[in-house]
Amino acid sequence: MRLRGNGISTLGLSLKTTAHRFAAALLVMTALGLLVLGKADAPLIANWRISIADTVTPALAVIQQPVRAARAVIAEARSWANVRAKNRRLEEENAHLRIWQQLASRYRRENRDFRRLLKMARGPVPTFISARVVGDSGSPFVRTLLLAAGAEDGIKPNQAVIAADGLVGRIVEVGTRSARILLLTDLNSRVPVRLAGSGYRGILVGDNSPQAVLTYLPARAKARPGEEVVTSGDGGLFPPGLPVGVVTRVVGPAVHVQPYVDDDEVEFVSVVRYRLPVPKDDTMASATGPSGQPHALPKR
């Protein structure tokens, strides 16, 4: 493409080029300004972000259809390929689980009786909102998921998010129809946990890698590979006892934990609605969990 034309059009062209350069410089400044604004942690940014997500979520759900269809076909083919082996495995597992079921129902009865004997106040019973994952971060720098459910479905910031195997993360941004989950493995994730065996408490810290690190354990605590890690319920955001992961390596003070949930493969999650009872005149009062009446939780 050769540039042709007389003096006037050349002048026009150079003016145009200057205007373009100016626009580019202005946009670079704007982007830098947004970076700084984001660092200052203005809730404004989070609001923009989630309102855009609200708009785009339906489109993402549509784009996801062919991806899901392809995966379904592959999964179907695979399951046909090893249907016999799977059947045998499931039968064994079933026999095993039936024993557990008997044990569990006995323990439940016993537990109920003991609670009654001790006059123990039951904690709030969590309820769940199930939702589909429609987006991920699409970059190596953050670990988040986008959910196709939001405030109108009852989702609120800081609620715990679980999948079939355990904790996934927590809600950080809530829009009308969408919400963003900060995964356990994100750099900024901090989850109060305890070692299920010994009961020692610590904080599970993400570092963007597939594993998270258990920190702030008391010096006397000895974590061993294979030990289970569950939520401690400290801070009151998460219900205690949610399975989180398992200790894989202990290198000096660093205890590495492999989360049970592979966050690359979650399709559906459940958001846990859980509120600590507000201290009232006496215990026993809020035995039935969230009553629909908004408790006055401290805002953060």
Binding site: L27, A31, I52, V67, F141, L146, E265
Partner: protein
């Protein structure tokens, strides 16, 4: 009267093609593909479109549009707002300014140019992310992501080329 309408329609399709292809890649990059470990190394797919259209159809890829697309990528990914927008604007300016060299030489030259741009872009995003989160982030996933982005350029450029031929024809 039918001819002008058809022409006009064709004209508007031409105008939106670069934007729509870039937008599609942005959405594709945030749709969960449910492949193990993939989200940690997701390539910056839309960078291929920003670069390609910057070289071949700069007028259809105005800098404001590129900025908005980058911003959308940032907003959807939940990352640092403004970072990808900044990267896209700079890449667009670079590719437009070097378009004569990049477009008139064999494809490999354009690809090499893209490789340089992609490496620069991701190292820049990594450095800013480190500064933003005040922590040293691992470079491994970034390197893999860059390698993927660079190796995806030839097939993507081929597709863009086909779309360009189809939609723009002699234009």
């Amino acid at each position: 009267m039918i001819q002008p309408l058809g022409e006009r329609l064709r004209g508007s399709v031409q105008i939106v093609t670069p934007a729509v292809t870039t937008l599609a890649l942005i959405l594709l990059s945030v749709v969960p593909l449910e492949i193990p470990y993939f989200t940690r190394i997701t390539p910056l797919l839309a960078l291929t479109a920003v670069y390609y259209w910057g070289v071949y159809r700069p007028t259809l890829m105005p800098v404001v549009l590129v900025f908005l697309l980058g911003l959308l990528q940032d907003l959807l990914g939940g990352g640092i707002i403004g970072l990808t927008a900044l990267v896209f604007v700079v890449v667009r300016q670079l590719s437009v300014s070097q378009r004569r060299v990049l477009a008139s030489n064999p494809f490999v030259v354009g690809w090499a140019g893209f490789a340089l741009v992609a490496i620069g872009a991701e190292v820049f995003r990594w450095a800013i992310s480190c500064a933003f989160f005040e922590r040293l982030l691992s470079l491994g996933p970034v390197a893999t992501s860059v390698a993927l982005t660079v190796s995806l350029y030839p097939p993507f450029a081929w597709v863009f080329g086909r779309i360009e031929q189809r939609v723009m024809g002699h234009y």
